[in-house]
Structure formats: C-alpha cells, structure tokens
Amino acid sequence: MINEIKSPSRTDMAARVARDIPEGWYVNLGLGLPTLIPDYIPKDREVVFHSENGVLGMGPVPPKDQTDTWLINATKQNITLLKGAALFHHADSFGMIRGGHIDLCVLGAYEVAQNGDIANWSTAQNDAIPAVGGAMDLCSGAKRLWVLMEHMTKDGRSRIVERCTYPLTAASVVKRVYTNLAVLDVTPRGFEVIDIAPNLTFEDLQSRTSARLSRSE
C-alpha cells in the first residue's frame, strides 16, 4: 500500500523544509536528511548555519583540492566558512543552543509523539554502545525544533505516534514534522496536517499514521 503513493524523493523533502526557512534565521541541522537542506535555500536568501563544534556561517563542502582540514562540521565533514562566519568554543556554542538563540533546529528522529516528544538518540537495543552527542541539548534548547524523517519505518510502522516507545531525547519540544507524506504541526490538540503529498487523501494519511490527525483550519 505504501508503494502506491508517489512519495517525494529525499531531495524533495529537504527542499520542502528549505522553502519554510526565512532569511535571517540561525539554523542547526542534524545528521542525514537535514544536511541536504542548504542546497535548496535560494542564493539570495541569507540563512546562517550553525555547527555545534563552534561555527556560525558554515558554507558548503569545499572542492577536494581546496580543503582546509581544520574546518569540520558536527558530522565531521570538511566545510567552508562564508563571509561573516565566526568561530567559538564548545561552552559558548552550547550556550547559544541552550539559551534559545538558535532559531531552528532540524533533526531526524525515530518517533515523534503528539505531545511533541521526540525519540532520536537510542533504540534501547542492549548491544548498542549508547551515544547522545548534542541531540538532547539541541532538542531542549533550540527556539524551534522541526523533524525531517520518513513517515513510516521500513517495516511499515508509523513514526508519528501517540506516545514514543523509544527512549526520549526531549519531552514536548517538536513544533513541526516533515515527512515524505505530509507536513504536520504539533499543536495543543495534537498533530495538525499542514500539507499533504500529492494524490494522498487525509484518510490515506490517517491510515498510515498511528496518532490521530486533524485538519488545519
């Protein structure tokens, strides 16, 4: 049934998020899908990207022969600095995060619950070495937390849930979720559908979602 839906590609999903980021925002992007977002910000729209290892004004990955290997991002890829960039240490960087100065953080997740809970750091499998990185700081600190993820797991379970089953990264923090099927706002009344994939009805979407959805007014 999932295969019937013409899902947007991963790049379409990133582009959809990019569309909603206005000029002048300070934005931190998590691993995976979110790292594709900057490619879809129009060149004339200035958005300042933050990397938690001490960078504001992060630019794209440089050509191999022009790499300064002293410059990396939080995923440990080499980066460039844009004009206007600034460097600072880890306590200052996480002060920015914890203090609510980052306008937007976009992360991937395993699950998002209707009260805004997010689970994205641990699947609680006993054999995995636990690792949290900056996920909890970003989730509790950013002014807005958006999640960008596939709507369902590979085995067909909804990631949009009434209550997270995986260990929480932070409680009641997610403001919006972008998936391959829809854009959902987290409201005091639960998930509200803001946008829906082409050829998908509200009922189709609800049938693929374990939390109850409401229509945007």
Binding site: E23, G24, Y26, D44, E46, V48, H50, L56, G57, L81, K83, G84, A85, A86, L87, F88, F94, G95, M96, I97, R98, G99, G100, H101, I102, G141
Partner: protein
Amino acid sequence: MIDKRVRNIEAALEGITDGAVILLGGFGVVGQPQELLGGLIHHDARDLTIVSNNAGFGSPSLPPLFATGRVAKLICSFPRPAPPPFEELYRSGKIALEIVPQGTLAERVRAAACGIPAFYTPTAAGTDLARGKETREFKGRTYVMEHALHADVALIQAWRADRWGNLTYRGTGRNFNPVMAMAADLTIVQTRHIAELGELDPETIVTPGIFVDRIVQIDSSDPPPA
C-alpha cells in the same frame, strides 16, 4: 540580505517599552554606549530597570537618565561615587537598588544567555548579601544559589561591527559588553566602525552576530583620560 544596521539612534531604540529591563555595557565609562544612553533620555519608556556595574560616575549620559525619573530600579555592583541624580533618588526612596557582587552579576547575565536558570556560587556566602537566599553545601563548603538575570534590552558599545552583527571591542571596553550582548531579547549596538562582511577574521570575532539585533554606527569619542 541580513542587514542589522539602522539609520540612527531613534531607530535603534524603537520599541523599548515601559517596565523594560535594560542591560548596560561598560565598566565606568569605558565601553559604556553614551549615545544610545543619550537617546534613552529622550525616549518615553518608563519604569525602567537598569543593570549596570556602576551608577554613572563620570558618565555624561547615565546621570541625566536617572534625572528623568524614568528609572525605577538599578541592579549594580558598585554605585559609588554616586552622581547627584542617583544619590537624591536613592535617598528619597524613588529608585530601588539591588547590590550584586560583580562576578555574580556577570555570571547571572551569562546564565540567562546560556539557558541556565540557576547556579551555585561561593561568593557572598555567610554575608549580608546572601540573606534570604537559598544556600547549599557541596564538599563541605557553603554556596549561594543565584538566578539567571534575563533582560528585554541590552545596550552595547562595540569597536567594529559588520552587517550580520559580528562584533569586536577595543581594550578594556570589552568588559560586560559581550556577556550582556548575549542575554537580552533585543540587543542594540553602537559601533565606532562598520566592517565589510568578511572583513572581521572569524577567529577573532568576540560577539557572533547571532546575539545582535540592531547596529548603529556612531562617531563617538574615545573615553576621557582617567
């Protein structure tokens, strides 16, 4: 294009409301944003709380601001010598004064900037300034719990600024400025010089633009000899 520059002091101070808590950079007059303060004298916001290390001794602008009667409270570490307007208001009970140890003041502002609602400090433990405050022992020593000091507005003096709001300071004009610049909802900067974007070395920027909302370039004079 991100451009935080505004055309004049009036535009820089727009929207400051009655009851605002205002962080004021500077240590003595060095790094104190005189022209922004001067603009505040002619502003109409009342019942202001000013957070400043000093009470305006030697300052051309802070005493006249007190004289307007629009400052309801001063949070301060060292209000001596007190210029006449402050002294008179204080003695007649028309201005409230909260004395905070200088390092605790800096740390409370930094805590607000960094999302820390409260912390423990050894400073003032066992003294009159800890009266009524919660205390706690860690490893046998007594500490006082202090709370973050949030503000609506910060008035900052920088030496150089670019249109993204990246700042550098000059000499000891740095003092409280970078700390206060981080801790307000609206951070307003007067800068001596405007730099082109990219001109400030990313390694030497002291205040990243993320903390800054408005910049006004002012040909202010150097501090007087002290």
